[in-house]
Assembly symmetry: C2
Homo-oligomer: 255 residues x 2
């Protein structure tokens, strides 16, 4: 049985609480938030606290707090030599106070309090300084059904950066698709199957092989028509830049 | 029973052939390709031809050929006053020779010969000049299980443009995610669940509401770190432009 204390009450903390709470092999000793009201409704499931001096012994402490709060909160913990992890994609493992055994438990997924998530779809990127800490972190992930991957700091950083491209930037392309269709009173809903299919395609095929379309074919006529249709200069710039990027990747002639 | 003749032997023609062939209520009278070898293997399922003078009577003719070939091929058809449709997102309906009853049967999906597709996930955007042609086109779509939507030319054009954003450009962002992760020997595979989740999220939530991340939060520290990490100038430009675009959409301060 692995005992944990969760710190923070945001998106990640809440999902981890729920997943750990129903997992076999994990016991949540306490849940800390500086704002006790945020977690008070869980007081029948675990001990909720807002005072760090009350914090109990556990095998692992998970700081699921804002990136900027990780360093300070880790220093405030009134103990040392225990395993303390943060959950961030971009914060250095050395930002955790060195009095602790330090680790990273980075869920490479978009988590929001209101949306359910299946932890089988949440790869946990694990980083440790002392490799003896790895098995316990791995066991935590396995208990909630998540795949794990050991990564070093450089790898975690680029994964976080890549996540911005495939998640935030992709979502903004969906948004532009929405704006463009609605500009003529067409329905964004019609694009939803295509959005799913585009994501599905790269589950088995590399994005390189999956590429199609006017930029890939260097279909100048269509590209010109599209640029003419776009009224928003931002959208035009994005169209041109991504067209060039595709042609660059695939060795096509420039626009 | 609706009788059809399919013209062309590429991605769309092949998928339509297979879908029509197994649908109740549709009979494929003939399949034409200028290159008979491409369709010869289907000769037990239907009559395959490469000579337009042999073309038979049918309720509908589907020109699933390259955009540039639609106009000429429609003129070469040795009959008039019958329903002739193309399948393109960007070609004008008036490009079809005016001796025909003209229509568009535009499958808003990415179709490739080698990949199976469920036609329930292929919205058919229908355009007609004479609205009396609509029911037969609608019946064709219904028979293969596809949702249909009547669109006008302007709407079809913006749908095709939006499809480039949510499909080709999105796929290029996946490609950049691939390059960025592999630059440090991290695995693109780790990003696949996030790619699926990002696509799933906008099935129920608008892309506007689904947005998260450093650009949205105006997290300058992370944005700066990411720009520093990116070595490829193209990738930097795309990062900056899409960050600005998100901030513009959400009324955040500029970079
Ligand atoms: N959400 C995701 O998709 C995701 C995915 C992977 C990794 N991460 C990482 O996971 C961590 C948490 O993210 P999140 O999305 O859960 O954030 P969030 O929803 O904004 O929650 C942040 C939590 O940190 C607490 N906090 C902030 N400053 C604090 C301080 N000085 N002392 C104590 N607690 C403090 C907040 O408390 P208050 O409520 O009292 O302000 C809140 O409970 C971050 O490192 C993030 O980079 C997030
Ligand atoms: N693929 C998609 O995802 C998709 C989705 C929606 C709409 N569309 C539209 O559907 C149409 C077909 O696309 P596709 O992807 O199926 O293209 P494709 O795979 O490239 O096939 C094009 C077909 O057109 C034939 N063709 C070209 N020029 C011709 C001519 N002058 N006379 C007779 N046949 C000619 C080709 O014959 P040869 O093999 O002999 O060259 C080939 O059979 C296009 O209008 C496209 O915009 C495609």
């Amino acid at each position: 049985m692995i005992s944990v204390v969760i710190l923070g009450s945001g998106n990640v903390a809440t999902h981890l609480f729920k997943a750990f709470n129903k997992a076999d092999g994990i016991v949540i000793n306490q849940w800390y938030s500086r704002n006790i009201n945020a977690i008070a409704s869980y007081k029948n499931d675990t001990e909720v606290i807002d005072d760090l001096s009350l914090i109990k012994d556990a095998d692992a402490y998970i700081l699921a707090v804002s990136d900027d709060a990780i360093s300070e909160l880790s220093s405030q913990l009134p103990f040392e030599n225990r395993l303390v992890m943060h959950t961030s994609g971009s914060v250095n493992i050395y930002d955790i106070d060195k009095k602790h055994k330090r680790g990273v438990f980075y869920p490479l997924q978009t988590l929001s309090k209101d949306a359910d998530i299946d932890f089988a779809q949440v790869p946990i990127c694990v980083e440790t300084i002392d490799k003896k800490c790895y098995p316990i972190i791995k066991d935590l992930a396995v208990a909630i059904g998540s795949p794990t991957k050991r990564v070093n700091s450089d790898q975690r950083r680029v994964l976080h950066l890549a996540a911005v491209f495939v998640n935030n930037f992709t979502n903004q392309l969906y948004r532009i698709g929405h704006e463009v269709t609605e500009s003529e009173g067409a329905e964004f809903d019609l694009l939803k199957p295509l959005i799913m299919e585009t994501a599905k395609k790269v589950q088995d095929l590399s994005p390189f092989k999956a590429q199609t379309g006017p930029a890939m074919r260097n279909d100048k006529k269509t590209i010109r028509k599209h640029l003419k249709l776009l009224e928003n200069q931002h959208h035009k710039d994005i169209y041109e830049l991504l067209t060039t990027s595709i042609q660059h990747t695939h060795g096509r002639k420039k626009l």
